[in-house]
Each structure stands twice: as C-alpha cells, then as structure tokens.
C-alpha cells in the first residue's frame, strides 16, 4: 500500500458524462434530492394553481392557504394538540401491545415447525378479515373507550406483523445455527445469543413498516365512538363537508407517519451498523 506519486498524476482526468437514466447507475446527490423536492413542489404548485384559478370549487378542494389557516386556528385553540396526543397515544399503545405479542409468537413460529403449524392457519384466516368490520363488534365487547381503539389497531397490525417476524427469523442462515451447536451451545442458548441478534435488523424493519400501518388504521380506530383524535377530526369534518379540515388531518397523519419511518430508519443505522452493506 504505497502512496501514489502525485507528480505522475495526469493533470486532467476524463469524467464520464452523467447520464440521468443509466440502468442501475448512481447519479449525483443533488439530482437525486432535487428530483424529490421538485416533484412535491410541482404538486403543491398544481394544487395552488387549481384553487387560485378557481378551476375547482373550494368545497371540493380548499386552497393551501385555507388549510394553513385551519392549522393555525386548531393550533391556537388547542384542538390540534389534544387530537395529536390522543392519536399518538392510541397508536403507541395499540402498536406496542401488538408488537409485544407478535415478537415472541413470531419467534416461536420461525424457529419451531410445531408453532408454525399451530398458529399459521388461524393467523392467515384472520389477517384477511377487514379491520373496519370489527368496529361494531369491538364496541360491543370493549365499549367506547380507548381499549376499543387499541383493539382495532391491534387487529389491523398484529396478524400481519406476526408473519413478517416469523419470516425475519427464518432468514437466519442454517449454517450459522449449526456452527453454534459445534461450540457446545444448547438450543435455548442458540436462540438467545445467535438467532435473536441475527434476526434483529429484519425485525426492526418490520417494526418500521408495521408502525406505518398503525397510522393508516387510525381513522378506522377513531371511526365511531371517539370525541378526540386526528382520525375523529377527519370523520367529523366529513359530516360537515369541511374539506380544509379533512386535508389538514390527512396531511398531519401523513407527516407523522413519515416521521416515525425516519426515526426507525435512523435508529436502524445507529443500532445495526454491522448490517449495512459496506461499499
């Protein structure tokens, strides 16, 4: 590994021209980021133009300004913060309950054929049942409190999550498990100190994806029998055709979903640097 002789370096290097649409080729970062920003900007511009030029009635599509005003009103009156807290709390509890059950059951299913055979047919059946159809039943069973909201979020998330976690566990290479037997470890020790750490990055990614689903089930959870929450606000606004409120609610849920996604991506890089592809 000797240092290259700088006096021998050619004064000018040939730079291949940047072709934006080369198959699988990397492009300069400013192009990559710029394209994403530009697309959102075009979208916002189209929205503004359509409302400004009164191409559509404000009843159908309120202007960005109207939505911003609504945001300001809700923030100053405090409704926004109440809704935000109620929804974040429901998502957190619902998702945590789901995850707390999905991890151990998924780990059992991924490692032991018996548990896979035991649970998979049932899980497969329930996961195709529409969560929204459980709303009346959950009210009947659990009443109109937060417990019912947790239950809807649980039904929406758990049955998918448990299968994803089972698959995460199954990706741990067989040879890695077998080599651990040759160090004299027991099944339990291998499960704890080989399979779980090896599966963790995949499981973390499952967390990221499923917490996103929890956000999409929020409106379903707050569909009936709620008096606070982002989803409730949307449902109520629908009744009075307050489209600016609907769009504000949708945007906030979208942004919060994006935020949780980034939090998981960011923590993934901090927690599992060893799982990142080294370039």
């Amino acid at each position: 590994m000797s240092q290259p002789d700088s006096s021998l370096r050619p004064a000018e290097l040939r730079r291949p021209p940047v072709r934006l649409l080369d198959l699988r080729a990397d492009i300069p970062r400013r192009w990559y980021v710029g394209a994403g920003v530009a697309f959102i900007a075009i979208f916002l511009f189209a929205w503004t133009a359509a409302t400004w030029l009164q191409l559509v009635s404000p009843i159908f599509l309120p202007s960005p300004g109207a939505v911003l005003t609504e945001l300001q009103d809700q923030a100053t009156s405090g409704i926004l913060w109440q809704d935000l807290w109620a929804s974040v709390y429901r998502i957190m509890v619902g998702w945590v309950i789901s995850t707390a059950l999905a991890v151990p059951i998924g780990v059992l299913m991924g490692n032991f054929r018996f548990f896979e055979g035991l649970f998979e047919p049932f899980v497969d059946l329930v996961r195709y049942m529409p969560a929204v159809a459980f709303v009346p039943l959950t009210i009947l069973w659990l009443g109109v409190g937060d417990t019912q909201k947790f239950a809807i979020l649980f039904i929406g998330v758990f049955f998918q999550q448990v299968l994803l976690i089972m698959d995460n566990v199954k990706t741990v290479p067989r040879d890695m498990i077998q080599v651990s037997y040759t160090f004299g470890l027991s099944r339990w020790e291998i499960l704890r100190s080989v399979i779980l750490p090896a599966a963790m990055p995949g499981v973390w990614d499952t967390f990221r994806i499923t917490v996103g689903w929890a956000w999409t089930y929020l409106v379903v959870a707050e569909l009936v029998a709620a008096n606070v929450g982002l989803g409730y606000r949307i449902m109520r606004a629908q009744r009075f055709l307050e489209t600016d409120q609907i769009i504000l609610g949708i945007l906030i849920i979208g942004l919060l979903g994006l935020l949780t996604d980034y939090l998981f991506k960011w923590s993934y890089r901090r927690l599992f640097p060893w799982a990142l592809q080294s370039r």
Binding site: V179, Y181, F183, G184, A198, F272
Partner: protein, 268 residues
C-alpha cells in the same frame, strides 16, 4: 495409527425420504477412519454425499444406519469435541473479529484473562493482527474464512471437520488459504476430516485421501499421500510424485463423474 482412530465410520448409511418408494440413498454402507492427528480428505463428484457424511460426523444430521465413533464412542449429537468450518460464511455479523472468536469459548471454564490470551494467539495464528475490531462486513471472503478457522480452533476441539472451506474463494485467495491451513496444521497438529472437490488441495494438505463414488456415496479408493513433510505449495506441487498421485486421483474421479452422467438423473 490404525489401532486407535480418532474418528471411525462403520457401515454408515444415509437415506433421505420417509416413503420407501421415494427414498434417496445418499451414503451407502460407508466405512472410513481418521487417525489421531491425521489429515484426511474426502473427494468425489458433486452430489456424492460427502457433505452429508461430514454433517453426520458433526452430529448435525442423524445417521440412518451404522455408527460413527469418536475415540471408540458412538456420537449422539453435536458437541464441542468437533470443530467445524463451513463453505458459507458463518461468522456472526454483529460481532467483531475478536468477539466472533471469543464466542466459541462461551462454554469454556477458563478465566477471562486466559480466554483473552487464546483469542489473541489465534488471531495471530491466522494472520489477522490489526483486524481485531473489524466487523465481518468489512472483511474479504478469505479473511472471513481465516476468522472461521481461528474460531473453530480456539476452543481446542479434538478434531476439525471442514466442508469445502475454500470453495467460495477466488483462485488466488484459495492458494493463500491452503498454504495458511498447511502451516497452521504443521505447527499445531490436530485431527482433520476435510472435504473438497479440488484434487490438488487434497494432495497438498492430506496424509490420506478417500475417493467417493457418485451417488449413492461409497468409498471407491483410499490413497496414501506419501509426499514428504513439511510441505509447501511450490515445492510439493512440483514434486513428480505429486503429479503421479494427481493423475491417479483424477482418473478415479473422472470414472465416477462419467458414470453419474451416464446414469439416469436422480434428484439431488
């Protein structure tokens, strides 16, 4: 050596499949032995059941009939008396090089300081000084297999089982690793059962070579590699005796390869 083999396979069979009409005979009535501190290779056409035999010796695959004995006692399952190196990379990606090697000492009763010394010694042995803190995703394929070898040696198993450990490496790295293993083994003799499809690799490293038949796997021939030790890559491979042995083994393998191509296809 013959009087006290470290490992002995006696009339071992491996038959896959539960139903009698759909069963596949992978290993058929196979007997072999590996003497104490002997380096024995098993070569044969692909799919001949050599890896299956090794997995049975490791206790990771049940034996259908017959016995595999270690020091005269039949094996009942995997154990820390047999270290194993696989062809695929089996390092734990969340552990650094030194922690990967230390992992094999999990069941060791040695005090921490002695474990540290063993880990250091084995990092040295495979030439990975300076990479103690590196993670597997920062290492080349050859370096990963060095760690795997160090990890299989560090807890001092009574024998090593190696399943084509250099099979996934490029030709240059492969030669380097063969020389490394040769030097390690010549310095610290241990019992090795080594699987390969590379005849030159088998000749360079082994005291004896078993040639297996095409599936169902049996022993076709046993060849004593009477090349002088200590060996090294350049001199050993230019020995005329090496060329003669190479020719002999290649002829045997080619017969089997042709036989298996000529035979009707069987599921592998």
């Amino acid at each position: 050596m013959v009087t006290s083999p470290k490992l002995q396979a006696q009339h071992v069979w491996k038959i896959f499949g539960d139903r009698r009409d759909a069963e596949v005979v992978a290993v058929q009535d196979l007997s072999l032995y590996v003497g104490d501190n002997e380096f024995v290779s098993l070569v044969g056409p692909s799919g001949c059941g050599k890896s299956t035999l090794l997995m049975m010796a490791a206790g990771l695959e049940p034996i259908s009939a017959g016995d595999i004995l270690i020091d005269g006692r039949p094996i009942t399952g995997p154990g820390a008396d047999r270290g194993m190196v696989f062809q695929s990379y089996t390092l734990f990606p969340w552990l650094s090089v030194e922690d990967n090697i230390r992992f094999a000492l999990k069941k060791s009763s040695l005090p921490r300081s002695e474990q540290d010394a063993l880990v250091r010694e084995h990092i040295q042995l495979v030439g990975l000084n300076g990479f103690e803190r590196a993670y597997p995703n920062q290492l080349s394929g050859g370096m990963r297999q060095r760690v795997a070898i160090a990890r299989a040696l560090v807890y001092k198993p009574q024998m090593l089982l190696m399943d084509e450990p250099f099979g996934a490496l490029d030709a240059q790295t492969r030669l380097q690793m063969q020389e490394l293993l040769l030097n390690v083994w010549q310095a610290h003799r241990t019992t090795v059962l080594f699987i390969t499809h590379d005849v030159e690799e088998a000749l360079l490293l082994s005291d004896r070579i078993y040639v297996m038949t095409a599936r169902p796997g049996r022993i076709k021939a046993e060849i004593v590699v009477d090349l002088p030790r200590p060996r090294n890559l350049l001199e050993t491979e230019s020995d005329p005796r090496f060329a003669a042995l190479r020719r002999q083994v290649l002829t045997l393998i080619r017969e089997e390869a042709q036989r298996s191509v000529g035979a009707p296809m069987t599921p592998v």
